[in-house]
């Protein structure tokens, strides 16, 4: 594996290897000194063309826990505003000395394009509505910790699927690991075609609330127009929101996941976000371990 751009082509073996390594990374993060010297002398370039807090900080922490140096490129206040092309920006960062690039971009395929231009490994940290593979990996790790395995797990992904790279990455990763995914959304928030997606579809959260092992909630992405196709928030909540009443109807072993940022009171009630079976903060913690594992994997394979 030279780059991590998408979960679509990862096999169960590929995914399991990364998750196994992430387990070891989680152990490192629990140590009194949560830092190992493995990537000493390497520089990780964080290239963020789109706002991000948790993902950028998580990659930064992951790089630093492996003793890599980081340099951050943000599109605000950079030469992008002077008209520099994506290619020139990427080549410049490589020339400055990035040994690996983490790319977040608002356009689909940006990380993939950069991976064709540079000679260093590229991690897609989110490209438009397309893919966010490390998010799917951290979700898989969180579920594996909780349930032991993903095989046979019923996962409902509820919300703005259409604009969600998290949903796309998760559908393929979870399916490869044997989970059964149901998408739950109004038709206007589903992709125009689900051809080739290994999923079932439901149009009301009540169809899945009692039977699902995992309720995976997504916010409505107003910045990508998701709010334009929902008649009203109260109506959305009535059909798709995980209220406390619905949470109470879920099975006692089931869990709630959310990739953040949460819109409390819309897709997830405040009390549910704070509830015992909400794994939101475990997801965030596991993100660091998974990103460490991905970086190590890419550095390993790259020098082969």
């Amino acid at each position: 594996m030279n780059h991590l751009l998408s979960t679509e082509y990862l096999s169960a073996t590929d995914l399991t290897r990364i998750l196994n390594m992430a387990d070891e990374m989680a152990e490192v993060l629990d140590r009194p000194i949560p830092k190992v010297p493995t990537l000493r002398g390497k520089t990780v370039g964080l290239v963020f063309f789109e706002n991000s807090t948790r993902t950028r900080l998580s990659f930064e922490r992951a790089a630093k826990a492996l003793s890599a140096d980081t340099m951050t490129f943000g599109s605000q206040g950079s030469s992008m505003t002077k008209g520099e092309s994506l290619r020139d920006t990427a080549l410049t960062l490589e020339a400055i000395g990035a040994d690996l690039m983490v790319v977040r971009h608002y356009a689909v395929g940006a990380a993939h394009r950069i991976s064709e231009w540079v000679d260093v490994p590229v991690i897609n940290a989110g490209d438009g509505t397309n893919q966010h593979p490390t998010q799917a990996l951290l979700d898989a790790l969180t579920l594996r910790q909780r349930f032991g395995k993903l095989d046979g797990l019923a996962v409902a992904i509820v919300g703005d699927i259409r604009h969600s790279r998290v949903a796309r990455s998760n559908v393929f990763a979870l399916n490869a690991l044997g989970a059964e995914v149901t998408l739950v959304a109004p038709a206007t928030l589903l992709p125009t075609s689900l051809e080739g997606w290994p999923v079932k579809v439901a149009y009301h959260i009540d169809e899945v609330v009692e039977d699902t092992d995992v309720m995976y909630l997504l916010r409505i992405q107003a910045e990508r127009g998701g709010d334009q196709v929902v008649p009203s928030l109260p109506e959305y909540v009535s059909r798709f929101g995980l209220t406390e009443q619905r949470y109470a109807r879920m099975s006692g072993d089931s869990v709630v996941l959310h990739p953040g940022p949460m819109n409390r009171g819309v897709e997830i009630a405040h009390g549910v976000a704070e509830a015992e079976r909400s794994l939101v903060l475990s997801q965030v913690r596991n993100g660091v371990a998974v990103r460490m594992a991905v970086m190590l994997t890419l550095f390993g394979a790259h020098h082969d």
Binding site: E27, I33, V36, H303
Partner: protein
């Protein structure tokens, strides 16, 4: 993707996978297709470990402060066996754990597909005597990495090293406190250790360079 390659000494062992052999056939006349000489039989491994255990008992009378940390993969079962000999003779359970060195190696660029093993530290190491346990002591680089890892895991009062086999050719100023068997080897040869717990068969073989 990641190839599974053990995180042990380069070219010291595991390099050529010996022909498989049914578990429990513990005779010297073990058949191996590449005719690698058997250096230690299962019985000899057992005797070497008993001697190492008794030396540890002599050197470290205050067993309450001792922790055995095996270096994955094969150092871990060896540490457990030493602990069970100590238990047999002194009736004391010495804590056993593991310390993986994959993240501390200095050769990521040369052996990029280092496999990671578990690190499990059963007790707080501060002020204790840690005995590191490994199967083959060769260049010393694994032990150097293990010492770095230990420094991040706690502050033991002292650290000792037990190795089943010392095959020489050190590249660093490192020595073992307890050695099961000194084996003079050529640097081109490979020493392969297999244990029932990890390999389903048992013995130490010398493989000629290819």
């Amino acid at each position: 993707m990641i190839e599974s390659r053990p995180a042990s000494e380069p070219a010291s062992q595991h390099a050529g996978q010996p022909a498989s052999q049914p578990a429990g056939t513990h005779q010297r006349a073990t058949f191996r297709s590449d005719a690698a000489p058997l250096l230690l039989t299962p019985d000899e491994i057992g005797r070497a470990l008993r001697r190492v255990s008794h030396e540890i008992l002599e050197q470290l009378p205050d067993l309450s402060q001792v922790v055995l940390l095996g270096i994955p993969t094969r150092g871990v079962p060896l540490a457990r066996r030493i602990a069970s000999v100590i238990k047999e003779f002194e009736g004391i359970d010495v804590p056993v754990g593991s310390v993986d060195v994959g993240l501390y190696r200095d050769d990521l660029d040369y052996r990029p597909t280092t496999r990671l093993g578990p690190t499990e530290v059963p007790v707080n190491l501060d002020g204790r005597t840690v005995v590191l346990v490994d199967d083959v002591l060769f260049t010393g680089r694994t032990i150097r990495a293990a010492l770095d890892a230990l420094a991040d895991l706690g502050r033991p009062r002292n650290v000792q090293l037990a190795a089943l086999v010392d095959r020489g050719h050190r590249q660093l100023p490192i020595r073992a406190d307890y050695v099961g068997k000194n084996l003079p080897t050529s640097v081109e040869e490979r020493v392969t250790v297999q244990l029932e717990e990890t390999d389903g068969t048992e013995g130490v073989w010398l493989e000629r360079a290819r």
